[in-house]
Symmetry: C2
Subunit: 346 residues, 2 copies
């Protein structure tokens, strides 16, 4: 019913003569408004996440450096003690090669993972989730995958713009190389952390450092230039990022600090991915970064890299790490863990 | 600009009090109208395909049996002689185990493919593409992959509803088992052919027939019940299928002929996929069947099956087999060919 009402409105606005949406000469497509039900094809836990209203702050962002500083301040994250308890993992603040980090360790580590180490770079549009909040995804991975995880608490803008985060991540990678064999290590992260995962490999190769045995970029912010079709198709459908030109993009520009957004160290989809380690990428059908995840997947495959893609039904940006009890969360992380197990040395 | 105009309209229609789209109590999401530009992130050839207006006949369908018969009549397809010439393949009408089929043979077959055979089941919502038109995708696969391809010209409704198509496909599979070792054979197809690929495996297992060494269901019509989130999210965005409740769904119901649409032989996403052969699935970010492709991928992975997913930027339903000269077409088919080469015996 609502769909019909909107179609009628669309016809009035565009002066169409019939019920079909028409395509203007430049090939752009006019899509009528519509009402999207919560899909029945996901778990009740995931339905609750999908049914959440769109972020009310997606296009509200600081206008002054002081407000940015407040936003980028370290936090303790949401419910981390309970999450650590649920997964029986501990988290210790450490300094690695001069950079703040956390070592997240499961109570029980199976023999095949004892000489393995994962390096984690957190998300949050390069600005958010400093401090202990950095470790949320690391706890999921340590818990579901039974790996030790070293989570980088990289410096953030406005005080520390690009390349501070990447410098810190690479410093931790150099430190990690003294803790485990590179072929026994993987790098992973989501959103900005997914982009940093990719740019770390580019940077490590540039510096002739050993590469990890595998990587898992989750819904990576792989293209800061605004390119990527799902910025348009999933606009106002992704209830997390909602749209480009919002808060997350403003944060990314704060990080970029005037550098060319097409630099592969900022937009790794433009990088040469030849020789990359095996990669597993994760996204969802409603993800604003669906395109920028699949574009990286294609680019890796074009370069002959072993690369797997998992796309979860109905999920918006990084929904796969929202609820530790959603079966889809377990599925996403266990799939990554299996991929690491397959490709890492022991 | 158009986006803003539509937001305002949406606010008026829904009586919203601010510029944010709101979520009603049932969790459904109201998405404003928008204009989608042609993505810059695909080849010029693919841009032309994406820029095409939405199908003008997507929700126009026959109202009488006679009209259906006309629609399901065999055709010679579009430009097949030129396509065969471009790929240097020949096509011969043959009868296999009593069923009409075509053997599509490349001029040059590399040694590793000489004992291999692919079985192809065409798409067309179970009604269209009978006769020589059946072979279009087979020609692409024979051309890009350098395999012999046996393409099933299965019977179609209204005269021959379910299970005629599946019966014919299985009869051809039994015939193929006399031509090559099952481990040297793969089954593939797109849309209805993707669903038939999956239901053939279910049926072969049921009949205790040998299974193929690999399968490639392309954007499969894996769920005829209407479930699948991208039916809503990609409504009016996919310029091929456009929406559910259109012509293709009417054809599928004609095929189902009153049978339970949730029967795995009609909606294979509901089937038990344990023991399935390695599978590679192909779809696009604008595909109306994006969800029903990724749901099959997840289901296969949950069953422990080797399953790879390729999702192409900006593509609607089966766009990957529209233009033999688009680099994305080559990429999609060569990826499938590599997957077959990896998993088939020689």
């Amino acid at each position: 019913m609502a769909r019909v009402a909107f179609l009628v409105v669309a016809i009035i606005v565009f002066g169409m003569s019939n019920g079909h949406t028409q395509t203007p000469a430049n090939g752009s497509l006019q899509v009528p408004a519509r009402t999207l039900p919560v899909p029945t094809t996901v778990s009740p836990e995931m339905q609750a996440i999908i049914a959440a209203p769109i972020s009310s702050t997606w296009n509200v962002f600081p206008k002054s450096i002081d407000e940015w500083k407040t936003m980028s301040a370290p936090t303790t994250g949401r419910g981390l003690p309970a999450l650590r308890e649920r997964f029986a993992v501990k988290s210790e603040a450490i300094t690695v090669n001069g950079v703040q980090a956390y070592m997240v360790t499961p109570q029980t580590i199976p023999p095949e993972n004892r000489n393995r180490l994962l390096v984690h770079v957190h998300g949050g549009c390069y600005v958010l989730n400093g401090g202990e909040a950095a470790t949320s995804e690391a706890i999921y991975m340590a818990g579901f995958g039974h790996f030790k995880v070293l989570s980088v608490d990289y410096r953030r803008p406005p005080e520390h713009p690009y390349p501070a985060a990447l410098d810190d991540a690479i410093a931790v990678w150099k430190g990690a190389l003294k803790m485990a064999a590179p072929t026994n290590m993987a790098i992973f992260g989501t959103s900005a952390g997914g982009a940093l995962t990719l740019s770390m490999v580019l940077r490590a190769r540039q510096e002739k450092l050993p590469l990890p045995g595998a990587i898992a970029p989750g819904t990576p912010m792989s293209d800061l230039t605004g390119a990527g079709d799902s910025f348009a198709t999933n606009f106002m459908i992704d209830n997390v990022l909602v749209g480009s030109d919002g808060r997350c993009d403003a944060m990314a520009r704060l990080y970029a600090n005037g550098h060319d957004l097409k630099d592969p160290m900022l937009s790794p989809v433009y990088g040469d991915m030849t020789g990359f380690p095996p990669a597993i990428l994760t996204t969802g059908t409603r993800d604003l970064l669906l395109s920028n995840t699949v574009r990286v997947h294609r680019k890796l495959r074009q370069a002959g890299v072993v690369a797997e893609l998992q796309v979860f039904e109905g999920q918006s940006h990084a929904h796969y790490m929202r609820d530790a009890n959603a079966p889809e969360t377990r599925e996403a992380f266990e799939e990554i863990a299996r991929f690491f197990d397959k490709h890492l040395g022991k």
